[in-house]
Amino acid sequence: MSETSKKVVYSVCSMCTVRCPIEIEVENGAVKHIWGNPHVLGGRFLCPRGAAGKVFENDSERLQGPMIRSGERGSGEWRKATWDEALDYVAERLKKVIETYGPESVILGDRGGAFTDLQKAFIKALGSPNYFNHHGSCSNSVHNAHNGMTGQRRNTVSYDWKNCKYAVLYGRNILESIGTKEAKDFIDALENGMKFTYFDIRWNYTAAKADRFHIIKPGSDYAVNLGIIHTLISEKLYDAEFVNRWVLGFDELAKFISPYTPEWAEKESGVPAREIVAIAHEMAEVKPAVILYAGWMTAWTEDDYYFRRSIYMIYALLGGYEAKGGMLFNKNEVDAGYKPLKKFVDLVPKVDKKRFDGVGWKYKHLSADYGLAQMVPYAVLNEDPYPVKAFINYRFDPLSAFPDPEKFKEGLRKLDLLVTIDVNYSHTGWVSDVILPEATYLERTDSVIVKSGPKPSLWIRRKAVEPKFDAKPKWWILKQLADRLGIGQYFPYNSVEDIIAFQLQDMGLKLEDFNSKGIVSLAKDQIMWDRKDGLKFKTPSKKIEFVSSMLEENGIPSFPPYESPKEPPEGFFRLTTGKTAVHTQGTTLNNPYLNEIQPENSLWINTTEADKMGIKSGDTVEISADGVVQTIKAYVTDFIHPTAVYTLHGYGREIPLQSRAFKKGMRDNTLMKGLLKVSIGGNVPMTDCFVNVRKVS
């Protein structure tokens, strides 16, 4: 009998985009089990999606080799290709597009996140300014709101759950839409006595653990916050010292807030005024040890931007920046005294060209780090501001993530080239010309990333097993394309070890330093900045700008009058969506174990409304908007606002090769007709979708 070979590889999960640290047990060249990395998490805790990484790896219903379409776009007719053939196909068409229309006619979109250096370098090296990511359908409004007020994106701060005494969450279903560490930290905090107030348009597992819970009128979170701010200011419960030192525009806020009393907020939101006052009192009592969750997926409404601003204003009023139990600034390698981790994108000369999506010229207050993916179809169809002819789509699926996929597809059909690089089948991949399969996160090593935080560290994703199919890592794919396109000099490596050596060269570190724990800690203790003089706000005034110079300069008011959220017309409901702990939107629906637990979505509808239509739980209902009709099973409950319906996002997959997920449940985004819009925060207003519901007899 041959001896069993065993090893443990520390790496970074990619079953969703939280990127949890993992420990992979490998036996005889195959994944045996995936746990949380105990050196980072203090235990082997890992969420169900992370645990299902092994069956994902072993599944054959995923991309198996390069594919070139042999039929019409989206026909599902493919031929297998060799890597050389597929790469030549892509490079030749890219060359032709660049020669005819210029490099800016090539755009590159991805999921965003920490591993973006190489694809940013690639598009920049081609001479195009057009990198963008999925944030238009996710966190654009919260990123841009914080950026406009403090010059810092949302993720430049983190929450100090360990010392938090009071938390307020708004529609952030932290215990179902989970990251392993965050969910555990939150539960630890509750066990340590943290009080927790929750607002949502429906009950969920998070609400079940709350001390105060209110089902509010959809879109009225902002009104609740204005009521809280009114109380904090009128009763002088704010941290005057912090406000005087760090806030610009307090008087303007005080003037703006005067009509928005708790009684007014009650009329808007349905939350009793006495509750709003009590919540403000409870926060003030334990300030600054208060966390108000600024939001994860925040593409809710047209004015979401102003709601997110109000959250950060309450933080400032409570003195919650760089505060124990509140928010802490994330420090990077430079803050920890190291030279920067080198980036490939910095090797490439700057591109001085107008962006396709209007960011930087039409939308000066929005960040080019994220861009506006929702502008892709318009730019392609209208050739405005110039022709967009090729789209390199790296692990991004706008046809699943964004509203109105039919409209989006209309734009994609007019492209000269659509190439998708992914580990999974996706709706966008399915209408592409070429699909290049990326080796899975278990089969590849990626670049080193900085995990900024109060205690910064370096993380790395490392190969644990050989690719099961004919798939390649991203660094190899991009290098191959770069060589074919004459930009190979910006990718001066032959292996991933070369990449890592390049990245680490100034830091005095090497790959082997990651072997024992999977990460390299850059600081012994938390790095804390001085709350009196050391806070690094990157606004022109170096303060938290309630009156935002970024907005004012661009003719956008910092304090527009409150507008009530739109009401659905008679017979219609606002469609809202969310997540479950067992799925990462559509990408895991075909995973054998995760599919088994939650194979379909259902439609939550309020009992009173359902009774009017004779709908009972389990009945099949028809849900429609602007001529799009879907069917779904109803779940009738008292615990959802009567004007809203709710479903899990991402179901109704239309890729026949994913047999377990194919046509299971309802594809929510198809109903969101006409919502490929740019709201003030750069987000699509995903929940401004009104649907009709009727029983199917």
């Binding site: 169900p48 645990a51 539960i187 079940a208 702990a581 174990y593 615990f639």
Partner: protein, 170 residues
């Protein structure tokens, strides 16, 4: 003697099902069978807020297992040293008498093999000094691998803590 107990802290459990997936992954359980299961019960309104309980259902490894009494071939066996009940596949004839006998639905049907299989507390892990996969991987550390005696003292401590918190904040 049954030495082990999986304690589930309801306050910590978020119903995420990581226990189920870690279990299936570790034991290579095919789709259709589950050695453990989280059953959500609720919501039920308590003090104005809808609460939910997530009931964790592994095999309880009874002191007098009904499945063993029902098994005609001796396939269902109990380890004398620590009370773990498991199936010896070579002896199982697939009669399903254990499935009929167990009030908690613990024995599972292996469609591919035509035999019963079930939770054995990951005894290969236990023998290496580790804990069952469901406990080790639990997202929020809601499951704890302890002795029955320890579980009762945790309950008492929690109750006492709650009492004292109540008296501080009436």
């Amino acid at each position: 003697m049954s030495d082990y107990y999986i304690y589930q802290d309801q306050k910590r459990c978020i119903g995420c099902r990581a226990c189920e997936v870690h279990c299936k992954t570790k034991n290579d359980v095919p789709v259709g069978a589950s050695f453990c299961k989280i059953i959500p019960v609720g919501p039920h309104v308590q003090d104005g807020i809808p609460r939910i309980k997530f009931i964790f259902m592994p095999c309880f490894h009874c002191e007098s297992p009904w499945c063993i009494l029902a098994c005609p071939t001796g396939a269902m066996q109990r380890r004398a040293e620590d009370g773990i009940t498991s199936v010896e596949p070579s002896l199982c004839i697939g009669c399903k008498a254990c499935i009929t006998a167990c009030p908690w639905g613990a024995p599972q049907w292996n469609q591919e093999a035509g035999k019963v299989f079930k939770c054995d507390y990951c005894k290969d892990r236990i023998d290496q000094g580790l804990e069952p996969a469901c406990v080790t991987g639990c997202t929020t550390a809601a499951l704890k691998w302890i002795s029955p005696a320890e579980s009762t003292s945790i309950r008492r401590e929690q109750f006492a803590k709650k009492m004292s918190q109540g008296s501080q904040n009436p």
